[in-house]
Symmetry: D2
Subunit: 376 residues, 4 copies
C-alpha cells in the first residue's frame, strides 16, 4: 500500500504540497447512490480553513473544492471521486531562508535525509495544508455514515496547553474559534492565545473525538482492529504525539473491577472501553483523544544546523498557527469518519448487510449517560 493512501476499501489517496499548484485526493470505493455536491464538502472545509480568527494562521486560502469525477447528476456513481483544491495565497519567498536550514522539531531534516532533496516551500508535503484533503474526503464519509447508519461524529478541544476545558455541551463547540465545548472558558483561552502570540512561542492541545450510533460488530481481529486503525489514522495527523481510546492512559492505574464496563439488559453501565472491545465496536460511543504538539515553526530563535552541518540559529517567518491543535478538530472528526466507513464496508463484505443465518442476541440499548472521557 502506498504511503499516501488511507483505507482498505474506502480509500483516500492524497497529493499536493503547501506551495505547489494544488492539493487534492482521489476517493475510491464510495458506495453508489450517495447524494453529494461541492457545497456539502465546502461546509466542512470552511470549518478548517485558515484565516478565520486571529488565533490561527493568516494565510488566506478559500480552499475551494472542485469535484472532477465520480459524481453524476448529484449522486455518487461508485467510481473514483477526484477532489481538487487549488492553492492561491502562496508566499514562497517567506521560506527562502529555510531552504538550507532545519527548523527544530520540524520534518525538514527527516525529509531531506530520506529523499536527498525536498520541496522546502512552506514545508512542502509535510505542511498541515495537506489535511484539507482529509477534511474534504471525510465530508463524504460523514455524510454516508449519517444517512446509512445514523452515525454522528463530533470533536472538540479538551485542553489548550495547560488549560483543561470542562465539557459542557456539543452545542457550544461551533460558537467559538477554539471548538471549545464550553463558552464560559473562551475568554480565558483568548487571553492565553493573545499572550502566546505576542511571545512568539507556540502551544500544544488535546482534542477529544466521539462517534455516536456506531453499530456493534465493526472491526477486524486481530491486527485490523478498529481501535488500531483509529490509532493509525489519528497518529497520522500532523503533530499528533499520542492517542487514547476510552480510558486511555488512565487504564494503567485502574483495577479490573473499575475498568471493565458492566452490562445490563438496559445497556452498558460505563464506557472505559471507549466503544471498542477486542478490536470490534460494541455499539457504545467510540471515544478517542489525541495529543497535539506545539507548532515547530516559531518566530523565536533556536539552535540548529544548516545543510553543511554548521551551527546556525533558526527563526521561522511565514504565517503559522501558534496552536495547530485548534484547526485539528475537524481533521480528527474526518479521520474517524474515514476509518469508520472503511470498517463499515469491510464488515459488510465479510458478514453481510443483514445476517439472517445465525441467531442474534438482543441488541443492548446504549446507556443514556455516555459522555466524554472525564478530564484527567
Amino acid at each position: 500500500m502506498s504511503g499516501n493512501t488511507l483505507g482498505t476499501l474506502f480509500t483516500v489517496t492524497s497529493f499536493g504540497e503547501s506551495h505547489g499548484p494544488a492539493i487534492g485526493c482521489i476517493v475510491d470505493g464510495c458506495p453508489p447512490g450517495l447524494a453529494i455536491c461541492e457545497a456539502d464538502i465546502q461546509a466542512e472545509l470552511d470549518r478548517r480553513k485558515p484565516g478565520t480568527s486571529r488565533h490561527v494562521t493568516q494565510r488566506r486560502e478559500p480552499d475551494t473544492v472542485e469535484i472532477l469525477s465520480g459524481v453524476f447528476e448529484g449522486v455518487t456513481t461508485g467510481t473514483p471521486i477526484s477532489l481538487l483544491i487549488r492553492n492561491q495565497d502562496q508566499r514562497s519567498k517567506d521560506y527562502g531562508n529555510i531552504a538550507d536550514t532545519f527548523r527544530p522539531g520540524h520534518a525538514d531534516y527527516a525529509y531531506l535525509q530520506k529523499y536527498g532533496l525536498r520541496d522546502h516551500r512552506g514545508g512542502g508535503r509535510s505542511s498541515a495544508r495537506e489535511t484539507a484533503v482529509r477534511v474534504a474526503a471525510g465530508a463524504i464519509a460523514k455524510k454516508w455514515l449519517k444517512e446509512r447508519h445514523g452515525i454522528v461524529i463530533r470533536a472538540c478541544m479538551g485542553a489548550l496547553g495547560p488549560i483543561e476545558i470542562p465539557f459542557v455541551s456539543w452545542d457550544e463547540v461551533d460558537g467559538n474559534p477554539f471548538f471549545a465545548p464550553n463558552a464560559a472558558i473562551v475568554p480565558e483561552l483568548e487571553a492565553f492565545m493573545d499572550a502566546l502570540r505576542k511571545s512568539g512561542d507556540s502551544i500544544g492541545a488535546r482534542i477529544d473525538v466521539v462517534a455516536s450510533g456506531v453499530p456493534v460488530g465493526w472491526g477486524e481481529p486481530v491486527y485490523g482492529r478498529l481501535d488500531a486503525d483509529i490509532a493509525y489514522a489519528m497518529m497520522g495527523i500532523n503533530a499528533v504525539k499520542g492517542v487514547e481510546i476510552g480510558a486511555g492512559f488512565k487504564s494503567v492505574a485502574q483495577r479490573g473491577t473499575e475498568h471493565g464496563d458492566e452490562m445490563t439488559p438496559a445497556g452498558f453501565l460505563s464506557n472505559h472501553a471507549g466503544g471498542v472491545l477486542g478490536g470490534i465496536s460494541t455499539g457504545q460511543d467510540i471515544l478517542a483523544s489525541i495529543a497535539i504538539k506545539p507548532t515547530s515553526s516559531i518566530r523565536l530563535e533556536r539552535r540548529s544546523i544548516d545543510r553543511a552541518g554548521n551551527p546556525v540559529m533558526v527563526a521561522t517567518e511565514g504565517r503559522h498557527d501558534p496552536c495547530v491543535g485548534i484547526r485539528a478538530t475537524p481533521i480528527a472528526e474526518s479521520m474517524l469518519a474515514l476509518v469508520l466507513i472503511d470498517h463499515a464496508l469491510r464488515h459488510r463484505a465479510q458478514c453481510g448487510d443483514v445476517r439472517t443465518d445465525t441467531p442474534r442476541i438482543p441488541a443492548l440499548a446504549p446507556a443514556g449517560s455516555q459522555r466524554l472521557p472525564s478530564p484527567r
Copy 2:
C-alpha cells in the same frame, strides 16, 4: 489487506485460537540470507511464555516453535517462513460456564455480535495467547535489524498500576519477573501483586519501548508514517488503550521552545519527538509508551447478561494473568521490530540501499544522553 496480516512488505499473517490445535503464522518478504533457527525464536518466546512466575497465568505452555518452511540449511531463502506452535495445556472445560454469558470488558460480546457465533473456549481468537506468534515473528525481525543495521530494541515496565517505576538500567530488566528496569522496586511490585492476586482483581500497566540505532529516513509521509504504523501496531496488542510517541500527552502542555528538539553539529539536544518527525525517523532513539488495561477475566463477580439478554452475574474461572501488562513487554518489542523491518524494506524500495545520486548532509551524531521519557 486481511484483518490478520500485519505489514506491507515484511508481513505476518497469523492464525489460531487459544484452545484450538495450534497457533502460528506465515512471515513473508523476509530478506534472503539471514541465519535463523528455532532456538533463536524460542529464546524470545520463552520470555513471554506463561507460567514463569507466580505473577502470571499458570497455564503450562512450552510454546515450542517449529519452522515449517522458508529456511534452508540454516538460512532464510526469501520464501515464506511458516511458524507453528501446538497448543498443549488446554483446559477448555474451565470455560463451559462462559459459553453463554459475556465477561464485562471482554471481547465475548463483540465477537458474537460480529460473526453470529464464536469459539468461546478461552477467548478463542481474542485470547492474548495469539501474541505468542507476534513474538515468534518479531524474533526474526529483531535479528535482521540487529545484524543489518545494528538496531537494538528493548522494552520495560514503566508503571505497574499506581506504582511508577523509575528507570535505572536496561541491565536490570531481565533479572525480575516484571521486566522492571529497577531491581530495588521489585519487592514493592511483588507485594502489590500478591495482594492483588489474593483479592481476585486485576490491574493495568504501562510499558515503555525504545529502538536505538534506527537510521534517519525511515517512514512514509503522509499516511504511511512510521509513528502511525507504530501506533497501529501497539494499539493492536490486546488490552492496549493508549499509545504515545516521545513526549506523548505531555506535549499538550508544552510550548514550542520546550518541545522542539534543538540540533547542533554534535547531535540533537533532546528527544521530545521520540525519534520521529513528519512521520520519518530522525536517527534518534524511537520512544513509545503504551497503556495496558487490567485483565477483564477476573474471579470477582460482575453484572452482565447472557445470550438471551437476561441479567446474570459473571465471574471467570480459568487461569489468567492478573496483569497482562507483565508479559506484554516482549510483545511490545516484537511489534516495534515488525514495524521497523517493514519500513526498512519500504524505504529501500523507494530510495535504495545507498544513495549516491544526491548530496547528503553530514549525519548527526546521536546525543549521548538519550533516555526514556521521564516519568509522568
Copy 3:
C-alpha cells in the same frame, strides 16, 4: 501485498517447499457460518493428488489436510482458517545432482539469481507441489459460492498437446485420468501419453474453465477488473503461459458484428465476452482457457550451465508429471473460485447484498445454449 498472498478480502497466504516438512496456507476473510470439514477439502485434494494414474508423477503423497483454526463445531467462525499438509514421500537425494546446475525451462536459475541461494530439493518453492494448497483453499471458496449463490465451477482438458478434445459432456470429466470431457477420445490420449513417457519427453495442454451462475455486477473497474484478476490468478499457476477470456485470441480476427453478444429479453444470444464486460460480470457463464507448457524436468539430456557458468548437460531424475496440464484441472477450478469469492465480498462491501435504493432492470435469463468456447 506480499508475494505469497492471493486476494483482497478473501485471502490465501501460502507457504511450503516441495521437500520441506509441510506445505499449507492461511485463509482469511471467510464469511462466518459456513459448514466445512476436513473431508470437504480432502475430496478436492484427492482430485489433484499425485500417483492416481500412470500418466502422472508417481510420488506418493496422501495430501492429508489438517484444519488448525477458524472452524468451531463444524462451522467457520470468521477468523483465519489454517490448513496444514505434511510432506511425506520426499526423496530429496534424487535432486542432489541438480543442486549446482539449472534445468532448461525451470525456475532454478531465476530463483538463485534473485535470492542468491535456493532450496534446490525438488524445485523447493517453485514446485507444483505448492498448488495443493490452492486446491485446499479453493474447496472452501467453492463451497461458499455454491451454497450462497448457486455457482458451479468446472474445468476440463481442452487439448492434450496436438490433440484437440471435442467437448461432449461435463459428466465424462471425472471418469478418466485426463479430466477429458469426452470418453471416446481417452484411448487416443492414453496411447499418446504412453509413447511420450517412453520417450522421456513432456507435453503441453490447454484447460478450459467455466463458472455458471455468477450474478451480474461482480468486478471492479478499471484496474481491479474481474477478468484481470482471473488472468492474474491463472497466469499464477505454475507452467501457464497464456490466458483467454471468452473468444480470447479469436477476437483478433473478429468483427464487431460477430463478437459483440446481442441481447434479447430472453437473454444473451452468444457469449464471446466470456461473461465479463468492462471488467464486470454479465450474468453469463465465465469462460476462461489457459495454456500450460510442457514440464521442464525431463529425463532427456539438454544443454545448460552450472553455478560456475560452465557448460553441462542436464537430465532430471526424480518423479515428474510428463504433462503437468493433467493435474492442473482442479487447480484452475480452485483459482477461479478464489477470484470469484473475493469479488463477491468486494462487491458486497461497496454495493451491499441487496440493493433496494435504485431501480433495477429486469434480470436477463441466461441463454440456454451456453457452451464452452468452440475448439480453435
Copy 4:
C-alpha cells in the same frame, strides 16, 4: 486495494469519466531524483491521442497534461505526483440515445447492474479515454527504467484482424498510423481499414510487447509473479480478451525438448519462456502478446434491450475507433513499464540494490538473436 489503483509500491490511482471535467491520476512511490517534466509525459500521450489519422476516432482531445505535485525544480521529490488532463471535446449529446439502452458487447449493462446507476455519457468510466492516464503514468515509469536500468520497452501491432504483420524492424513502428513494424504492409492495412470504416463495422487486433534489458531476478513467487502481474495489467486494458507470455498458446502443442530454453555460457538459445521462469525474470527479453476485441460501439444496428427490458435495435453514433487495437500500442507499453517498475522496487526492497553477501553466478549474456514471438 481499491479497484482503481494499480501496483504495490509504485502505484497509479486513476480517476475520470469520458465526458466529465477531467481525467487524471496520482502516481505514488516514485523514487526521488528522477528528472521529469510535462514535455516528457506529453510525448507519450501524443502517441496515443485521438484524431491523429483517419483510422482512429475523430474526437479532438489535445490531452494536455499538468503536473500538480511531486516534482520540484524539475526533479521528482518522492512524494505523490498528480497528473491532470482536462477533457475538452465532449459532445455528450451524441450519447443521449444510449442513456436507456445497452450496446451489445459494451460495459453499459454491467455497470448499471453493478451500481444501480451509471454515467452514460460516452461510456463514462468504462471509456477507453481512461487509458490516457495509464500512458501518462507509464511515461514516468519508462523514464526511470531506462535511466536506472537501461530497459527499453516497445510494442507494435502483430495482427490487424485477419492480417498477420510480419516483424521487420522496430524502426518502422512509428512511421505509420498502425504501429506496424513493417512499412511494406501499410497499404494493405489502410485499404482494409478504409473498407471497414465504410461498412460501419469494427475489427480486432493483436499487439506484441517487448521489454529488453530487464535484469534477472525480478518477480515474486508464487502469487506475485512477474508474469501474473503482466497478465493482470494487460487484461486490465479495455477490450483485451487474451494474454500470452513467450510461446503462449503455442506451448500447448510443444514438447519439453522444444519449449525449454537451453542455456550456454554465451546465453539462452531461445526464448519460449518469454523472459520469465517461475514468475521471475531471467534476463532475457520479456515477451507478451495481447488479443484486443473489436470495438463494441458501431454504427450497424444490433439487437439489444432497454432499461425496461424491451427489445430494441441499437446503433452507436458518436466518434469511435473502428479498431481500438491501433491506439492500444502505447498503452500496452505503459502497462508493461508500470509492472516492471513496481517489481524493480519490490525486488530492491527484499533483496537490496546490490547483493554482496552471496556468491553470484556469472551473468549470462543475452543471446543476440532475441526476436518477437514468431507469427502464429
